[in-house]
């Protein structure tokens, strides 16, 4: 695939920034390319997706372009003590793409966003804040609750846990609000690991198990999500697509998990081209609206029962 490393000055960050754009060879003559904005994890940069996974190979197989932005350790947030990484993502990267890459589609039905760990947080945050920009969003082991993150970074990014509540950084609140709304949501895909220290919306663990900060309180929206209330909200039946993929291996090899999550996500958003992901014994996928009615999800992280339609995939 054609690889472009693009350098420009970001007005929001007041820094020279680097953006990687990967264009599929199989669509060299196409000027309306579907594309995925892919966000990295903390301490990484856009190049890590290319180096540690088969992202470029998968994207070529699906005929999708990739845009890899660099978020430093900014948590894709306009930091409380730090720089405006969210404005950079949503305004400057957007402006760079519109101004300099005419073959990347302007059609929201051909745009996707996804990310790994804090990149999952960033992707979901972006998709819930700008639902008209994307067709689907993916959060791979996404750290959705600021209270679960490294306290040092948390303070720099959000101020304090309480300060993140009911802002665009409180994704449980954003998700709950979005799901009770009739407005269009991008299709949402979550992948999680068994031993995650970062939560997805369906994790069972309580906040108090992981943080000892006396200032930490239980986010009422988190509790609701934990108990499956979000999943069973009646608004879910209005047609929002949410899928959760669960890979039951531990996080000793995080980028391997990221690679498989990406393959699974691309198969879901682009089902008509080359099959990339082969489910195995350690993978289960379910649709929360189907299997989680009034009951809470299983408390012990063991196998989740699948509806028959998915069991054989």
């Amino acid at each position: 695939m054609a690889n472009i490393v693009f350098y420009s000055l970001s007005p929001a960050l007041r820094m020279q920034r680097r953006l990687r754009v990967i264009l599929p060879d199989s669509r060299r003559n196409d000027t309306n390319l579907p594309w995925l904005l892919l966000l990295h994890s903390a301490g990484a940069d856009g190049s890590r997706w290319l180096r540690m996974t088969r992202a470029e190979y998968y994207a070529e197989a699906k005929g999708i372009a990739l845009v890899l932005s660099d978020g430093d350790n900014g948590y894709y947030t306009d930091m409380y003590h730090g720089y405006a990484y969210y404005t950079y993502l949503t305004e400057d990267v957007e402006a760079d793409v519109l101004r300099n890459f005419p073959s990347l589609s302007r059609d929201p039905q051909r745009r996707y966003v996804a990310g790994f760990e804090i990149g999952g947080f960033g992707a979901l945050k972006y998709a819930l804040d700008f639902p008209d920009r994307f067709r689907a969003a993916g959060s791979f082991a996404g750290g959705l609750d600021p209270q679960s993150l490294d306290p040092d970074y948390c303070v720099l990014a959000f101020g304090s846990y309480k300060q993140a509540w009911q802002t665009e950084n409180d994704l449980f609140n954003c998700l709950r609000t979005a799901l009770t709304d009739d407005a269009r949501l991008p299709d949402l895909y979550f992948s999680r690991r068994q031993q995650d220290y970062l939560y997805t919306v369906t994790d069972q663990a309580t906040v108090s198990d992981r943080v000892t900060d006396p200032d930490c309180v239980t986010n009422p929206n988190y509790a609701a999500a934990r108990d499956g209330d979000v999943a069973s909200d009646s608004a879910m039946t209005s047609g929002h697509t949410i899928r959760v993929g669960r890979l039951n291996f531990n996080s000793a090899d995080p980028w391997s998990f990221a690679d498989r999550s990406l393959a699974w996500f691309l198969d879901r958003i682009c089902p008509d081209r080359a099959r990339l992901f082969t489910p195995s014994a350690d993978f289960a996928e379910w649709d929360p609206t189907v299997t989680m009615s009034a009951a809470s999800p299983a408390a012990d992280n063991s196998a989740i029962s699948l509806p028959d339609s998915l069991a054989k995939e």
């Binding site: 472009i4 490393v5 350098y7 420009s8 003559n29 000027t31 300099n100 890459f101 005419p102 073959s103």
Partner: protein
């Protein structure tokens, strides 16, 4: 202004190749210079050895710097088809995916040494694509006595570009590679690019440069400017002269010239 590094598979070259691009603020509406490197360089050298990005920013010009390998920017007789890549495949890609212009009024070409020959050859073979040519420290290189068959062929120009056998050279030189033949073949009603040539007085190619300049100056229609100055076949000269060339191209009186280097 922005800068990007492009790596792409070229069907024409059958090679994964790289291009350095300086982008004006509004690439589709700004002049675009195709800037060619010398025989011992690659696509990164203009950026590394000169302040070309700073000069291009001042004038709002995009600059495309491809890798020309040792091709003299030709469709080599024994080697990759770099001319076809530069005239067709690459501009199509740049237009489609980066919004760079392909019109004649917004495109010009320049180069140093092997790239100077390349700029003259491509500009004169495709006058409908380029409105100006810059040639630094070069001339009708492949026909210079220095590169006659029977002498050494350090860059493979005789055997690979021209496709001749060094030990058994043909008596007839291929007119496709002779700048004077190419010039003579341009129809009288064609749009002629304006040509700017420069060479340093201590340059070992000075003689080649002068012979070429005389022939181009003698053409009745070709707009032609030639300048010699102190300097040799080196990056000090080329940093100065890419600046002078851009001054000339944009018709600006010495706005970029710094007295300490002139």
């Amino acid at each position: 202004m922005s800068y990007l590094q492009l790596s792409l598979y070229s069907e024409t070259l059958r090679l994964e190749t790289t291009v350095q691009v300086i982008l004006a603020a509004d690439p589709a509406a700004s002049p675009c210079l195709l800037l060619l490197h010398g025989a011992s360089d690659d696509d990164t050298m203009w950026l590394r050895r000169t302040s070309v990005e700073r000069y291009a920013d001042r004038y709002g010009i995009s600059v495309v710097m491809p890798n020309g390998y040792r091709s003299c920017y030709t469709d080599m007789r024994r080697g990759p088809a770099v001319e076809t890549y530069l005239i067709h495949e690459l501009p199509d890609f740049l237009r489609r995916h980066l919004g760079l212009p392909t019109s004649r009024e917004l495109n010009f070409i320049a180069g140093l040494s092997m790239g100077g020959y390349g700029a003259l050859r491509l500009g004169l073979r495709h006058p409908e694509r380029f409105n100006a040519i810059g040639c630094f420290s070069s001339g009708n290189l492949l026909f210079d006595p220095m590169f006659r068959p029977g002498t050494s062929d350090p860059y493979g120009w005789v055997s690979l570009v021209l496709g001749e056998d060094v030990d058994n050279p043909s008596s007839k030189r291929d007119p496709d590679f002779d700048l004077f033949e190419i010039l003579a073949a341009i129809p009288a009603d064609a749009p002629f690019p304006r040509v700017y040539m420069a060479c340093g007085r201590d340059d070992y190619l000075l003689n080649c440069s002068r012979i070429t300049a005389e022939r181009l100056a003698a053409h009745p229609t070709l707009p032609f400017y030639y300048e010699e100055s102190h300097g040799a076949h080196d990056w000090n000269f080329w940093d100065r002269y890419i600046k002078h060339f851009l001054d000339w191209y944009t018709d600006t009186e010495k706005t970029l010239t710094e007295t300490t280097t002139d």
